[in-house]
Every structure is written in structure tokens, then in C-alpha cells.
Amino acid sequence: MKKAIIFILIISAVTGFSQRTIEATVSSTSVTTYERFNYEITVNNNECNVSPPNFGDLTIVGGPYTSQSSSFTSVNGQRTQSFETKWTYTLEAKKKGNYTISAAKMICGDETQETESITISVGGESQQPSVDKDFFMRLSSNKSSVYEGEPFIASLKYYSRLQPQSFETLELGDATGIYRRDLNPDRTNFKTGTEIRNGVRYYTIELREELCFAQRHGKVQLEPYFTSLIVSRDFFNRYRKETYSNPLEMTIKKIPGSDHPDFNGLVGSFEVKGELSHDQVKMGEAIDITISIEGNGNMHDLGNVALDIPSEFDEFDPDIEEATKATRKGIGGKITYNFVVIPKHYGSYTIPGYSFTYFDLESEKMRTIQTQDFNIEVAKRRGVDIDRLQEVPSEEKSIRYIDEKADALFSTEDFFFGSWGYWFLILGPFGIVLLLVFIKRKKENRSDAEIQELDKRQILKKTKVKLNEAKTLLESGDQSQAQRILQIALEEFFMTKLQMQRSEQSQNSIESALINKGITSEIIRQYRDISTKLEMAQYAPITNENLSQTITNAENLFYELDKNI
């Protein structure tokens, strides 16, 4: 036994000298949501490097706070110096569940030592009032049901059985989907009082009032607020009390008709006014258009105000002046947008008034309000735009003078083309020429008549030749041939002279033709004689002398006729 004790003492002494340790502890492994607990790393030296663990989804509310201490111990003459370094973290979990804090590490040269990992189990919500009836905090709303964008007031009131001394911290809970504004941001004193609840007397402090606007419909929540106060039981007994409030859940109503295309998200009651600085200007002169929106509601949500400015104006981003205040009724006041536009061109322009649609809380209906239209007259600028003039390549800076010697005036009727006179002069000569050509051609056709004339002149000669031929035939004894030749000579003569075909020729027809030509009856008798004789000779032969005589008579006849036809 003695040996064991000595052994242990020696070991401890030795280990007390040289062993380096790291330890991690928590104040509680089982907590509720939002309940804070501490995590502490203890290291017995100050030579090594320490790296903190991973806290996972746990929220670090405070720390790390560091503390160092050293102490001397003397045991049976043995002196040992020990060091201690502590790191303390204050943690909380927001949701139920199991959380693991990983190991913390200590690195001494080549050596690494680790703590164990620690599991924290986080239970359900704890309502402070049921846990602690002496100290609680109540978060309440002045309205039970609101629309999106409708203001309500969240009040935080502290109840304490003991008189609170001083106020350390106040931390707001998260409020997703809610816009909050402290109604008393500059307050230094809190309103205090007393209240009796359930027969118990409490001291009350009104810690905070917040003007809230829900930014969406459905369920929204203000998460528990946290305070730490100093309370005193009696003079020597003071301690810090940390308290969580209840969360505040609100059901937010959807705005009816919020899909209206012009709805700009404002809720409350508003008026809009428009002001035009000048309605008659010259080109290049600046004009101010002021749109002011006045009222009460969620004015912080007012987005962009824009005007439909025609392209003939230069426009600039508006100057915005905001004069609003958060009151118990909401955010109220006036926001002014000042637009500056500069016309680049003359003419009459109308800028349509600014209009917007908001949800009126009193009547619980969408309401559209608008300013008047802005009518602007821009006068022509007398004179020339000097900048543009640079493009005219000349030294002349004004227009040239009028024509003093004017050219002749005319009108569209003075055009000759297409008029009656014109077409007459075009078609006239053409027609005339055609006519002339036609006439000339006709004249040339009469040369056929000349041919006839020629023939007529020549027929006598031709006939004489034929008659000579007949005579010769007769002398040679060919009586019948001579007859035939004579006959032919007669026919050809009359063909030419009287223009009668052989088939048309008969004694009678020739006689009447001769009569028509005015031939004397004496000559006609001569013809008759010859013709008859020839006819008879066809049936009964005549003597040579007879035929010879007939030929000679024919010759004479032809001669006579030729003179007259």
C-alpha cells in the first residue's frame, strides 16, 4: 500500500511537471431552445497552440473569453507551478435537435492532443412565464390582424418581482419578412410602473415599442427578444437576470387586388401633387417637375417614381427629398421627387401626369390617384443653331438673298407636251406623208396605162408584119394559113385597141364598140365587109385574089382605125 501511494505521488509529481493537458466542458448538455450555455476549453500550459472546435449549427452568442491563471503549490516540500488557460464560449441553439461540438485541439510541436467531442441535446421551446414566474418579458402587438404593409406596434414589457436596478442589454429577435422601426430611438429612460397579475405584484418596464410592417402575407414571426438586467434582492445581493420573451406570431392578410398592374405596394392613405415650374419655355431652358407624395403608411416601401418624358427632352435622375417620421400610426410625411427636363426641340408637348395605385386602409380598397398632365409649350428659338452650323462648309452664316431678276412664271398648262396642239403636230405630218406616198403610188399605177398606150402605138406595126406574113403565105399557096393569120391579126388588133379579149370579140360586139368609140359608119362598113368575107371563107373557099384584096382592105382599115382609136 505504501509503495502504491509513493508510486502514485511520484507519478503525479512527474506528470505534474511535464504533462500537458487539454479539456473541454459544457455547463449543460441538455438545454432548451434559446437557452444559453457555456463551453469551456481548459489547457494547463501556455506553450501550445489551441484550435477551437467546430460548433456546427450552434450560435456563438459570446466569446471566446480568455482567462489565465497560475498557481504555486507546495506539497511536502515539492513545489510545483501550474498554469491554467481557459477559453469560454457562450452558445445557444435556435432549434430543437442534437448538436455535436467537435474536438478542440492542442498542438505542441509534433504532438497533438484532442478533447472529446460533446453532444448537446436541445429540447422544445421554453416559455419563460411557465418556468419562471418571478421574471418574464412579454412581446405583444397592438393589432391582431393586419394587411401586408399595414403598420402595427410590437411592444416589449418586462415584469419583475424584484425591482430592477439597471438594464444591461437588449437583443432583438430575428424578424424575417417584417420591417421594424424603433418608435423611440433616442430614449434613455424607460417607463416604469407596477402591475398586479394573478394576485402578484410586479414591477414593469416598457422596454421597447417598434413600428412594424409585414412585407408579405401569410404567417410572420418576431423571434424572442433577449434582455439581461441587473436585479437586486437586497443590498448585497445583486445578480444578473437573463430573460427571453415569447415569440410573436402574426397572420398577415393578403391585399385584395394586389395583382393590379399599377399597384406600387403602398398601403395606407396618400395624396399626390404635381407642380410644373414653367409651362412656356424656349429650347434649352430647364423645367422642374415636382411630384410630392404625402400621407401615412408604409412610405419606406415607395419605389421608383418615373415620368413618361417625350424623346425631345433631355431628362435627369430626380432629386429626392424625404421628410417622414415614424409615428404610432405608421410612417408618415412627405416625399418629394424633383425632375429636371430640358427641351431640345420646339412644339407643344404633354407629359402625362404621374399616377399610382395604392391600397387604402380605411376603405380597404385599391385607390388610384394621379397628378394633372403637364402641358409645355416650347418656343422656336430665333436665329440659327450655331453648333449645327459648323457642318455647313462655308463662311456664310445666313441665307442668301432673294432673286431680284426672276425667271418667267409658268403654270402646268404651259407644257406643250400632251396637249392637243402637240399631238396634232406629231400625227399631222405623219398622216400627210402617208397620203402623199399613196398618191405617188397611184400615179405610178397609171404607167400601166402608158404601157397600154405604147402597145396601141406599136400594134399597127405588129399587125402590118402579120399581114405581110399572110400575103407571103398566100403567094406561096397556103391559103388556109394566110386566112388564119389574117384572123389572128384582126383579133390582136382589137384586143389592144378595144381592150377586148378574144372571147368577147364577135362581129356585133366589135361593131358596137367601134360605134362607141365614135368610128364613122363608112369605116364600120369596111370592117363588116372584111369580117363577113372571112367568115364565109371558112365555109367556102375564096379565090386568092379575093383574099389578097381582103388583106389589103384590112391593112387600110387598120390604118384608119389606128388614127381614130
Binding site: 442668301r400 432673294i402 426672276a406 406643250f416 402623199l436 405617188k440 403610188r441
Partner: protein, 235 residues
């Protein structure tokens, strides 16, 4: 006839006198009266254009200069003043004028109203004479000459006639216009409630397309749309 002619020249000289004295409105009245009587001349429109310009009526001034140049494309002063005025238009679109067309008009349309008509008539007469000889002569050499020259003068007749017709059409027909309202909205169809296509301003030259009762379709720089006829003056 002579009284009318002298009354006209009176109106012109009264106009010129008024302009010289600086009474631009009065001068404008004198010239406008002649225009209302359907009288035209390059100088008349040019002087009228100057009056409009002095009275700050930019659109009408540009219209008058354009009409003057239509009659006499070689009027240098009108061309200068037109460019001057165009530089002050808001839209400042460069007018697309084909140089070839401009040269063509400047060469052929400046010889007087009826120059080409007379040339065509003379050509016709020569042609007719040649035609006559062609059909009536027996001499093959003459016939040949007549044929050749006949074709030449026939061609000349047609060319001169065509030019005369083109010249007349050019002066009489209106294919373009100038915007005279300060600023107009050009719409996609001929109605006040139609969708807006784009804007135009005073002094801009547009081409004319189809027309309606009160509205007319215009095109400029490749864009087309409808506008009320009273917003422009045809060139």
C-alpha cells in the same frame, strides 16, 4: 393676256420690294398669291422660301426651296439655302438624293419647258420627209440614205418625246413631301388610335406611298407609317 402677265410681274416686284424693306410677311403674301394661282418658277419659290425662313417657318421654307430646285436644279442659291435650313431640323436626316438622278435632271430638265417637245416635232418632220423619199424614190442610193437617216430621226423623235414626257411628269407629280408641323407622331395605320411607330419633326423630307382620305403613308430611311395629310406639304 398682257394685263394678266403684267399683274403677275407686279405681284413679284411688290413681293421683292416688301422683302427688301424687311416686311417678310407681306412679301410672303405677294408670292403666295401667285402660287395659289398655280403659277410657278424657280425664283418665285426661292424667294418665297426666304420669306418663310425669315418668319421662322422652317418646314415651309424647306418645301419652297425643294420646289424651286425641282424646276431649276441648277439654282445654286436655292441649294445653299436648303442645306442651311436642313441643318436646323431636329431629325437631321441626310436626304438620299442619287447623284445620277440629280445630274440627269440638271442636264435635261433645265432647257425650258417645251424644248424637248419641239425637238420631237422637228425630228418627226424630218423623219416624215425621209419616209416619203424612201417610199417614192427609185434611186437605191437615196433609198438607202433615207432608210438610215429615217431610223436616226425616228430614234430622236422617241427620245425627245420621252424626255418631254418625263419632264412634265416630274414637275407635275408629287412623290415627296416636307413635314410642316413642329412634331408629329407617325402611326402604324391611318387612325388617331393606332399604335405609334415613331416621331418626326418639322423640316424632314419624306417619300409618299399610298394615300387615304385624310391620311397618307410615308416612308423615310426605310421606316414607313401613316400621318395626317395636313401635317405635310407635297413637293
Amino acid at each position: 393676256m398682257t394685263t394678266i402677265a403684267s399683274a403677275q410681274s407686279d405681284a413679284l416686284s411688290s413681293g421683292n420690294a416688301a422683302y427688301a424693306a424687311g416686311n417678310y410677311a407681306e412679301a410672303k403674301d405677294h408670292y403666295s398669291r401667285l402660287v395659289a394661282d398655280e403659277k410657278m418658277s424657280a425664283s418665285l419659290f426661292y424667294n418665297l422660301g426666304n420669306c418663310f425662313y425669315q418668319l421662322d417657318e422652317l418646314g415651309e421654307a424647306i418645301w419652297a426651296y425643294e420646289r424651286s430646285l425641282k424646276i431649276n436644279p441648277g439654282h445654286e442659291n436655292a441649294r445653299f439655302n436648303l442645306a442651311f435650313a436642313q441643318k436646323q431640323t431636329y431629325d437631321n436626316l441626310t436626304p438620299e438624293s442619287s447623284d445620277v438622278l440629280r445630274w440627269f435632271r440638271g442636264t435635261f430638265f433645265v432647257l425650258g419647258l417645251n424644248f424637248w417637245s419641239w425637238i420631237s416635232i422637228i425630228s418627226l418632220l424630218v423623219f416624215c420627209i425621209l419616209l416619203y423619199f424612201f417610199f417614192t424614190t427609185k434611186n437605191p442610193k437615196i433609198k438607202n440614205y433615207a432608210l438610215t437617216f429615217g431610223f436616226v430621226f425616228f430614234g430622236l423623235l422617241n427620245a425627245a418625246g420621252l424626255l418631254a414626257m418625263l419632264h412634265k411628269q416630274y414637275i407635275i407629280e408629287r412623290h415627296s413631301a416636307i413635314i410642316i408641323e413642329d412634331s408629329v407622331i407617325i402611326r402604324t395605320s391611318p387612325s388617331d388610335t393606332a399604335k405609334e411607330a415613331f416621331n418626326l419633326h418639322e423640316g424632314t423630307k419624306v417619300d409618299l406611298e399610298r394615300s387615304n382620305e385624310d391620311w397618307i403613308e410615308i416612308s423615310v430611311n426605310g421606316n414607313t407609317g401613316w400621318v395626317e395629310k395636313e401635317a405635310l406639304l407635297e413637293i
